[in-house]
Every structure is written in structure tokens, then in C-alpha cells.
Amino acid sequence: MPVRSIISEVALLLMLAVATAFFVNYFSPNGISLVGQWDPNRGVISAAPQTDAIFHELELESPETAKKIYDGGTAVFIDARAKSFFDDGHIKGAFSLPLGEAGNRMEAFKNKFPHGTYLITYCSGRECDDSHQLAQILLENGFINVSIFIDGYPGWTAKGYPIEKKG
């Protein structure tokens, strides 16, 4: 078995691949950091891309904080998950605006809620960043009061807070 020849061929291949990978990642608009945030205990998981949609300052860090605002009745909770998830169960009184439909439904959404409305987006918890992306879309569309409930629906139900289901 020609071990030396194979090792040199593999080494050449890997060096080219690794060099190109870092070069492309550095210059690509979709490039990611060398180390991501993969600990759900520290917040929403993310590869922390260079054009990251995550706004940590908007995050509500615990279900208790979200519940206090909920009880105050000043905020509208916006469910960023797909409609089927929403129908299976959602925070009581929440409004469904799935991330995938946000673009098409934004005009109707703007007509329903004034720009000053306090909106709290949520999705499926800390392994999901749809709520962050939706918050970014809402901010881009002129909504100025937006927070993100990072524990999402699983965090809400785990505390036994009020939910409702379709039908």
C-alpha cells in the first residue's frame, strides 16, 4: 500500500479545502464566526453569523419576566411558529404571524397593530431563532417596541401559564 503517496495526496486536498473554506467564510455575507453560541442555558443557540439577526438586548430572559408583562396586559404576544404549531397550542391571546408568511402578511399586520404596539415574539424555545428573525422584520417595518421571549412556547407551558388551542 503506497502510504506516503496517499498521505501527500490527502494532505494537499485537505490544505486546499481548509484554506478555501476560511477564505470564502471570511468574505461571504453568510459567513459565520469561528465559535458559535451552542449552550441553551446561556441563551438562544446560534452559529452567530457575521450578519446575525440576534439582538440580545431585546431578549426577555425568563418565563417569569414574560408572564409579568403578559399580566400587565400592555403587550401582544406574536407566535412566529408555523400555523400548525400555533393551532396545536399557543400562549393565550397570542397572534399568529409565522416567520415564513411575515413578508406577505405584513401589510395586514400593520393595519391591525399601530407601530407603537408593544410586541413580544416567541417560537419554540432556545433552539429556535425564528422569533429573533421575526423581531428583526418587525423592526424593519417600523415597529419600535419589540421584545423576544426566548424560552418560547415550551418555556411558557413548562410553567403552567395560560395557553389555548384551536377549536
Partner: protein, 162 residues
Amino acid sequence: MKKKVEALIQNVWFELIARWVLGAVFIYASFHKIIEPAQFAKVIYGYYLFPPATINLIAIILPFVELFCGLELLLGIYPRSAALVLNLLLMAFIAALSINLLRGQEFDCGCFSFSEKGYTYSARTLLIRDIIFFCAGLPVIFFPVHRKWCVLQSGSIRNNIH
């Protein structure tokens, strides 16, 4: 039976088709991972097998290893080594998928960016697919004589050809 297998391994057309199919598959597979490394990183995280510090590095490097291996197979540049690297990767994928199947773990974050773009997976389907690709790599690795339409021959895993 043994003679038939040997004849198949020495068939230039069989080697060419296996090499091209494998090359095309991995070039295609690398495309989405290169375009959206953040989503691919999430797929890697979803295996719950890798240390957090390595997830992004794997997401950055792995697609380009697949791309370069695929290009080498299509163009015929050191194909034995390209197929060898891919088969080692496939062995790692097969091991990772098997571990998750045994653990009964399947990652689905319920996220739009994930499910709507087809990132949710059935471990069983991927496992079968990877085993087929692994088998397709074997005739390329072991092909003993001159290959058809090959820029840099180099030989098989058993012997060099110049």
C-alpha cells in the same frame, strides 16, 4: 462470485460511473452547506455529539472538503484519495447517525428556517443513503488499473500507477 466481483471492480466504465455519481452527489451536497453555513451548523448541533467549540469549524470546513473531493472525482485528480477521504467521512456520518438512532434522538427545533427548507431529516433514510454512497466509493478506491478520463491517475489504494 469472487471472480464476478473482481471483474466488476476492474471494469473501467463501472469505476467511471461510480466516480462521477459520487463526485456529483458531493458537489451538490456541499452547495447548500456553503451557502448557508449557519443552518448547517445547527444541523451539526442537532446531533448532540460535538463539543460546542468545534461546531462552527466543522460547518465551515466540511462542505469544502466535500466540494474538493467531489471535484477531484469528477475531474479525475487523485481519485483514490478523494474517494478515501469521502469514505472516511461517510463512516463518521454512519457512526453519528447510528448513535442517534440507538438513542432515539432526532433533532427538530420546529423552526421555519429549518423545516421549510428541508433540514429536518429521518436518520434512517440518511443512514441507508450514506451506506449506498460508501459502497459506491469502494470501486474507486480499489480500482487497480488505468482509469478512464482521468487527469491525474495516481493508482489504487494497493499500488501506484504513473
